[in-house]
């Protein structure tokens, strides 16, 4: 049977593909028409092709279950999500603006703390920050940039507005899947790529390499760049090894590196010790250097922070950058942008209530059944309360938590995330999506063409995390300029 877009009903949500039943959006017109011409059987066949390709290409993510690590095939839906190029241009500017301001904030917090003195950023907030590392005060990494790789999560609400939901400045992951999703889609729908102007995404590894190389403390033509992984048991190990291969860097573990008497970092190779210039680390701050942080850490390298402080090695992201990756700091980002850049934010924040403010806290406590409550420092959807779906007991528990440590919580209204057609049991049905673009900042700033679209595969669900039943899609930035 052929797909009938008249019968596809997003139920009042903003749909990324159609504007109203039967009417595809301009940028998605080609895709919608093509899908209609394929019919159910063809679609099912293409999904099988994709599943097979994912197996053959070995695209996996690791989940820890029943005491064992299992490599699971990456859950992927073949129907791409389409964003018009003109809209993306705006988003790109907005993300660049955001990351620029966030990096100025981090650099300021570790140096003069002007923003605190000017009372835009509460001192109490800085004092209680878990990710602020006071021992790094006085450091300024090259270009004043601390967060070189940022993954910001974007969502679209019912009225079509795109919001930033959070900024991941520590060790954001997912970019390898963005690239692999595209290679799978090219295998599945080669004809569409011939007909449409779809922006390529595979420039990312080159951009990543250039950015990392621009951080090298030694002015050499081919700096030694390594990717530091916690190892095979990490859930993102696939990505670590993928990126290392694509940028031609060694994939190292902590035990491969050592800091010499000259405070330089060396890796142990069969040719003897080799100086390392740039470390793209995928290990959290806590574990980076047992001399500075957790003494029991075996994942990191003793003396690494010493080498970094002396400017002998670059770390991306810089240690301590996480101070700006905090759900409470997030609520201040619009003010931060105005403060440092004297500009209005291009992409808005989701309206948020700060529990550290008495009035706002009362509002949150009175409306727990309508709000989403988030802890300041968790990621991956952990430790959250989704009010409308929570039991009375859970809400009571959160009310107590909020009263006990208000600094640790903020709340947002439950957004009606936008939907996009997704293949479910052989039929196209609307499913909620978000988007994680990646921003690189070094000498220059770069934003990926689109990003990783995550989709909640269960009907009505808003949970897009792959560890919790989420899937992903290819994301197309389509230029309709010539089509009009």
């Amino acid at each position: 049977m052929r797909i009938d877009w008249q019968k596809y009903d997003p139920d009042g949500n903003y749909d990324e593909l159609i504007s109203s039943p039967g009417y595809p959006r301009a940028a998605a017109r080609g895709l919608a028409g093509h899908l209609r011409s394929l019919g159910d059987q063809q679609l099912a066949r293409r999904q099988r092709m994709a599943d097979l390709a994912i197996q053959e290409m070995g695209i996996t993510f690791t989940v820890y279950s029943e005491g064992e690590n299992i490599d699971r095939a990456w859950p992927f839906d073949i129907i791409p999500r389409v964003i018009p190029a003109r809209e993306w241009q705006q988003v790109t500017e907005g993300l660049k603006q955001r990351v620029t301001a966030l990096n100025q904030l981090i650099d300021d917090l570790y140096n003069e703390q002007r923003i605190v003195k000017d009372k835009v950023f509460p001192r109490a907030l800085l004092k209680s920050s878990k990710n602020y590392l006071p021992q790094l005060q006085g450091s300024t990494p090259r270009y004043g940039v601390w967060a070189h790789i940022c993954g910001s999560d974007l969502v679209r609400d019912r009225d079509g507005t795109i919001y930033v939901l959070e900024d991941n400045l520590r060790v954001p992951s997912g970019v390898s899947y963005m690239i692999e999703n595209r290679s799978v889609t090219k295998r599945v729908f080669p004809e569409l790529f011939r007909k449409h102007e779809i922006e390529p995404v595979d420039d990312y590894p080159n951009q990543l390499f250039d950015m990392l190389a621009s951080l090298s403390p030694r002015p050499v033509e081919f700096p030694e760049i390594v990717v530091l992984t916690p190892g095979i048991y990490n859930s993102a190990y696939f990505e670590h090894s993928f990126l290392a291969q694509r940028i031609g860097a060694e994939l190292v573990e902590g035990s491969d590196l050592t800091v010499g008497d000259d405070d330089c970092v060396y890796m142990r190779t069969i040719h003897g010790p080799q100086r390392v210039d740039v470390i793209y680390r995928r290990i959290n701050d806590d574990f980076l250097d047992p001399e500075e942080f957790r003494p029991e850490s075996v994942l990191g390298v003793a003396g690494l922070i010493r080498a970094w402080r002396k400017g002998n090695v670059a770390l991306a992201n810089a240690p301590g950058a996480g101070v700006a990756d905090d759900k409470i700091v997030y609520t201040f980002v619009p003010e931060i942008i105005r403060y440092y850049l004297d500009q209005d934010p291009i992409i808005p924040n989701v309206p948020s209530y700060l529990c550290m403010d008495k009035q706002q806290r009362e509002h949150v406590l009175a409306n727990l059944d309508k709000l989403v409550v988030k802890p300041a420092n968790e990621s991956g959807g952990y430790g959250m309360l989704v009010g409308p779906h929570a039991s009375a007991a859970e809400r009571k528990k959160f009310a107590a938590l909020i009263r006990k440590s208000p600094r640790n919580y903020m709340a947002q209204p439950t957004l009606a995330l936008s939907t996009t057609p997704t293949l479910c049991d052989g039929k196209l049905e609307p499913r909620h999506v978000d988007l994680r673009p990646f921003i690189l900042q070094g000498e220059r700033t770069y934003v990926t063409a689109g990003g990783l679209t995550r989709v909640a595969l269960r009907k009505g669900s808003l949970v897009v995390n792959s560890s919790q039943g989420g899937g992903s899609k290819d994301t197309w930035i389509v230029d309709t300029g010539s089509a009009h």
């Binding site: 291969q245 060694e250 050592t258 010499g260 142990r268 069969i270 003897g272 010790p273």
Partner: protein, 311 residues
């Protein structure tokens, strides 16, 4: 190439080769026990001594067939048991998957799963001879697959060094089966010597090659010389040492390791025909020590280099 990666690749090869050789050793020993009459002094315990595992007596009270086989094949507390070797090989491939062709990983993984099914149960598998022959065949398949699909660069060199060091070591141990049997049984076994060495040669798939090479009745001295000194038979110690030497040629900072290989080669080429009984046994101990010294040198040169060397 990272030292850690070189080390893991090296151990992949060693563990695969060790699995194969342990399976061979157990098969030949079982055969020998059937062939030789009771009372010639051949005992299961000697198999443990040959394999070099130390913790057997702590774990088992008697050294009967069942205990010895369980220890050699199934016991995860014996780091040299077939099951332990397979698990270790798998873990090392798992962490170097970007260097090993994907079929290599799949084959090692399947062999591990096969081993776990056969040797992970409470009882030894039925048709042990068949099972062990299958293990030998699958190990050969992996070795062949890597030789045919992996670039013969630095990673492959470490693979080759690991394989041949392990093989040279195990060949000396299997020759030791013969000499130990002769020592244990004294004069009465002499009339069975032919049968003994035939089995030793078979353990190393060497019988046919030996036959082509030595055109007379099987004699202990000929068999020993063949297994230690032949440069063309791929399981002979001299051949393995030559392979190691060849693999070392293009590796950086190889002089100390080349010297260690040279010492082992000189020793293996001494006049082994003049040795018998206790002397042969001691000679083999010395040879094993030289082979061990090559490993130690490989390890200290490439796997755990001191930082201040090149700084």
């Amino acid at each position: 190439m990272l030292s850690r990666v070189a080390e893991r690749i090296y151990w992949v090869a060693r563990y695969i080769e060790r699995t194969e050789n342990t399976a061979r050793l157990v098969n030949v020993y079982s055969d020998l026990m059937l062939d030789l009459p009771d009372g010639v002094g051949l005992q299961w315990r000697q198999l443990i001594d040959i394999s070099g595992a130390a913790n057997f007596s702590k774990r088992y009270r008697s050294a009967g067939e069942r205990n010895v086989l369980r220890f050699m094949l199934c016991d995860r507390d014996n780091p040299n048991s077939v099951l332990s070797c397979l698990a270790a090989a798998r873990e090392n491939v798992r962490t170097t998957r970007d260097l090993v062709p994907s079929e290599g990983w799949e084959n090692v993984n399947e062999l591990y799963l096969f081993g776990r099914k056969k040797f992970g149960a409470k009882n030894l598998p039925k048709g042990l001879y068949e099972v062990l022959s299958q293990v030998v065949g699958r190990c050969q398949q992996i070795t062949g697959l890597l030789a045919g699909t992996m670039s013969h660069g630095d990673a492959y060199r470490f693979l080759r060094i690991g394989r041949h060091l392990e093989r040279a070591d195990m060949t000396t141990r299997i020759v030791d089966v013969g000499s130990a049997t002769l020592i244990a049984s004294g004069a009465e076994i002499l009339r069975l010597e032919n049968r003994l060495w035939m089995n030793v040669l078979r353990a190393l798939s060497a019988y046919q090659m030996y036959r082509q090479h030595v055109r007379r009745r099987i004699k202990g001295t000929d068999a020993i010389a063949f297994l230690l000194q032949d440069t063309q038979f791929p399981r002979a110690v001299a051949h393995s040492l030559a392979e190691i030497q060849d693999s070392l040629q293009t590796l950086p900072r190889n002089d100390a390791t080349l010297r260690a290989v040279g010492r082992a080669r000189r020793l293996v080429n001494s006049d082994v025909r003049a040795l018998s009984g206790e002397h042969l046994h001691r000679f083999i101990d010395d040879l094993q020590a030289e082979i061990g010294a090559v490993h130690t040198q490989v390890e200290s040169t490439w796997f755990a280099p001191e930082l201040d060397e090149a700084v």
